[in-house]
């Protein structure tokens, strides 16, 4: 069962929800404000886990609302902590979507795709069977699949608020396990189901 959070609740630090665990970084690094999520951390390391999806083959997706210049915040898969994860972000300075892995604090850029961010764009990153990492924006494959074995036993995912403060950063987060052995093209079917869920609204936060 996928985890979903639309952040429709009273203003609070993200870790005030029993579903979110602050892994590293300052308390309140992400904060629910006006039914969306703010990045309130300018630190280089910060991460939250959502409920463990219990499979290394999983996805995270979120609706990106606004992104600040110099922002370094990610949504993550195979996320151990703020120094060890695979993540996706929109980097406003270069006007592009990016997929990174961070290994013991070192960054490796695995792919990028230039596009103008439209508030409400849905970014989706998956770590699929055979260790294929892929990024989709509004359902279209934009980066990958990239063959990547780093952290391929890690079952957790979440978000990484970091580097630059940003109000109204994301909304409608979702994470889930992928069916074992399913290939990338078929997984797009699952993703469309996720979008439909998101459009329908939910609040498991």
């Amino acid at each position: 069962m996928a985890f979903t959070d639309d952040f429709n609740r009273a203003d609070e630090d993200l870790e005030a929800s029993a579903n979110w665990t602050l892994v590293d970084g300052a308390a309140g690094a992400a904060r629910v404000t006006s039914n969306a999520l703010d990045c309130t951390s300018a630190q280089s390391t910060g991460s939250y886990h959502c409920p463990d999806q219990a499979s290394p083959n999983h996805y995270s997706q979120a609706k990106i609302k606004t992104v600040a210049l110099l922002a370094g915040s990610f949504i993550g898969v195979r996320l151990t902590d703020g120094a060890n994860f695979i993540g996706a972000r929109y980097y406003l300075d270069l006007g592009r979507w990016e997929v990174y892995k961070r290994v013991i604090g070192s960054f490796t850029l695995l792919g990028s795709y230039v596009a103008t961010l439209t508030s409400g764009d849905v970014v989706y990153i998956e770590a699929a069977s055979s260790d294929n990492i892929a990024l989709k924006v509004n359902g279209a494959l934009r980066i990958g699949p990239v063959s990547e074995v780093f952290n391929n036993t890690e079952t957790r995912q979440g978000i990484l608020p970091r580097i630059a403060l940003q109000a109204n950063w994301i909304d409608d987060f979702e994470a889930g396990a992928l069916v074992t052995g399913v290939s990338i093209p078929i997984l797009q079917q699952n993703m469309r189901g996720g979008f439909n869920q998101m459009r329908g609204g939910f609040n498991n936060g």
């Binding site: 290994v103 013991i104 960054f107 490796t108 850029l109 074995v149």
Partner: protein, 106 residues
């Protein structure tokens, strides 16, 4: 799309991440860029795909349509040998390149 054998540049920092040199020319995806335990690149080259054609100084697979998986693999191997590398399917950067070629050239 254009396929490249790229050098790996960067120092792993936020502002200068490890990346293929084609990354500074436009959109791209790597096939596989393995890391050492300390996060540094475990390979000296990386296979990548990009819409950018003829990026100066980056080794591009020859474009001889209709390219096939077989001819693309021969071209990749020739480039690697010319660079003093031994194509080795046990190495993730090469296995990733072959997987990308098999997928994209069918």
């Amino acid at each position: 799309m254009v396929y490249y054998v790229c050098a790996i540049i960067g120092d792993g920092s936020e502002n200068d991440p490890y990346r293929p040199d084609i990354a500074d020319h436009g959109d791209f995806s790597v096939a596989s860029l393995p890391s050492n335990a300390d996060g540094s690149p475990a390979a000296s080259w990386v296979f990548a795909v990009s819409p950018v054609a003829n990026a100066v100084g980056i080794r591009m697979l020859p474009s001889l349509p209709p390219e096939t998986a077989s001819t693309a693999k021969v071209a990749l191997d020739a480039i690697l040998v010319s660079m003093g590398m031994i194509p080795d399917i046990a190495k993730p950067e090469y296995a990733g390149a072959i997987a990308m070629i098999s997928r994209d050239f069918g």
